[in-house]
Subunit: 356 residues, 2 copies
Amino acid sequence: MADYKITLLKGDGIGPEIVNQAVKVLDCAAEKFGFGVTYDEALLGGCAIDATGVPLPDETVAKCKASDSVLLGAVGGPKWDSQPGNNRPEAGLLGIRGALGLFANLRPSVIFGPLKSASPIKDEIIGGNLDVMIVRELTGGIYFGERGRKEVNGQPAAWDTEMYTVGEVERIAKVAFDLAMKRNKKLTSVDKANVLESSRLWRETVKRVAEDYPEVELNHMYVDNCAMQLVRNPRQFDVILTSNIFGDILSDEASMIAGSIGMLASASLSGSKLGLYEPIHGSAPDIAGQNIANPLATILSVAMMLRYSLDQSEAADAIEAAVAKVLETYRTPDIYEEGFTKVGCDEMGDRVCEAL
Amino acid sequence: MADYKITLLKGDGIGPEIVNQAVKVLDCAAEKFGFGVTYDEALLGGCAIDATGVPLPDETVAKCKASDSVLLGAVGGPKWDSQPGNNRPEAGLLGIRGALGLFANLRPSVIFGPLKSASPIKDEIIGGNLDVMIVRELTGGIYFGERGRKEVNGQPAAWDTEMYTVGEVERIAKVAFDLAMKRNKKLTSVDKANVLESSRLWRETVKRVAEDYPEVELNHMYVDNCAMQLVRNPRQFDVILTSNIFGDILSDEASMIAGSIGMLASASLSGSKLGLYEPIHGSAPDIAGQNIANPLATILSVAMMLRYSLDQSEAADAIEAAVAKVLETYRTPDIYEEGFTKVGCDEMGDRVCEAL
Ligand SMILES: CC(C)[C@H](C(=O)O)[C@@H](O)C(=O)O
Ligand SMILES: CC(C)[C@H](C(=O)O)[C@@H](O)C(=O)O
């Protein structure tokens, strides 16, 4: 029997309560599909600053590296806003991405049938459904480039560097093309090649990688146009491939278009099986500890983990189906509509286990 | 009698036909409000490449500098896609922005009453109307920073530099605060200060400038969150202040949310009265020369010119009112709806003159 070691980074705010529900569901899936899971916890973000002084203790990196996969709740909160830039909860998040080599961030923007009305976009534009996968480069670009302060003409100035090597673009492009092959074989690569040199290298490299994927229909789009097209006609997209900073912006926009920010999962993958899985929403400190947070994005992150890191795609499908089923009857406050039964964080986890 | 010298940069694609209609309307306004206008034409973009080999001939810069204001149609098209990066029509656009010191780009996203249904966003979110002003820094940041290619660990790589000085941030922040004072006194400064050093300098500087504007309510928002909030609840914004690259992305997103891309004007201002005015839409080579393009964004750009560069705000108001009136009856194909009268580019210009 397969036995997986999972590191839990519960993090801050609602992190602990949503991760607890996801663990509950993963345990149910393990029993049902006949595999074992053992857990270890480690500190990341604000809770790590409080306990150790730094947002990413070495011990956390070591534990994550020694596990089959990592499940993250959420990090950050106003409590740590006064920390210097390099010692904020967010620095821990960037640090763990870098330390584990998680260069591929997969952010699906999907609309769950019963939640269709939650999208701010008109029904005739959203149509029957929406299923866009954003592949964001996660360990390069301006997030990891050199930066600093200097004097320019006697004035204080600050600078950051956007930089990509051919190898970095190649490996993320391959991830996107491979995904497109398993989906609708359409890939949109997003850049600003009419201005940026790094975008021109990006575009050349993506074109070269495309030669190995003749079945995939590739097009290139400027980032400003993509931000527009996501609003105008999001259904034109299947897989979107883009850089770290553009992916940050576009994936948040796309998730809001899907309308259910409390429902969306993400996967951050390295070259090996080790991945980090987390909901795309934040730590929502204002509602922490009240048992009203929506654990479904974290539960769906567990489904992504089963699919991409643990080779248990049957269990992944089953969790996704269970979530869809539960949504027909039960809702946490953030997605509550008349006619449904309102439940808390805890009970939502129970209902998904039941449906499993 | 005031006599203004206007340089026309008709540009490519539909540029010439829409500028011609805007000139027609400006002439009507001049007669009605008692001022004179003389025009001079110069080349920019693809037409300049064809005629002179470069997208921004020196003569164009000289003519623009010698005038009271510049009206631009649109530049670019697939015809010049194979030009090297530094000799494309877009390079001419960046060049003229730099040469004239047009550091402040004002992009209003408004919904024109009769066009409300054109927004892709649900009516209950858009509400009665929408009126967001995006102030984008236009001559700094990653657009004008150093860039190049190099080897990194034996691999080809490309890089661009995002850089801001305190002075650059101060002057654009002042423009935004001054505008907010004339509007609803709410300013949202957008950055990525949790990652970028240039954003941290941006935020510190905006906070300092804010001390001179105690009446303006200032808040700071991360760019990814802003991309989300524009979809979720665009009415929360009054004036948005942001960098060159973030402004490029967010203003296109916001204009699509307003729904009428063929209707939106923009102003690019320098420290002096000299400004450049242009529609935000592109050169649409596919419909060029067919007399079906919508000239209203260019006509509304003339209104902005009258307001910001020529101190003729009465004439500006009159043109905007004329456009609103004409929209109650007449529509170009891009904004046509049943029950209205379809007109071409030319006739739309005539109708606005009539309404004036
Ligand atoms: C918290 C922040 C540093 C982070 C990012 O920008 O990558 C977040 O916005 C995300 O998208 O995961
Ligand atoms: C054409 C391009 C270089 C330009 C820009 O990015 O500034 C355009 O998108 C704009 O916003 O005016």
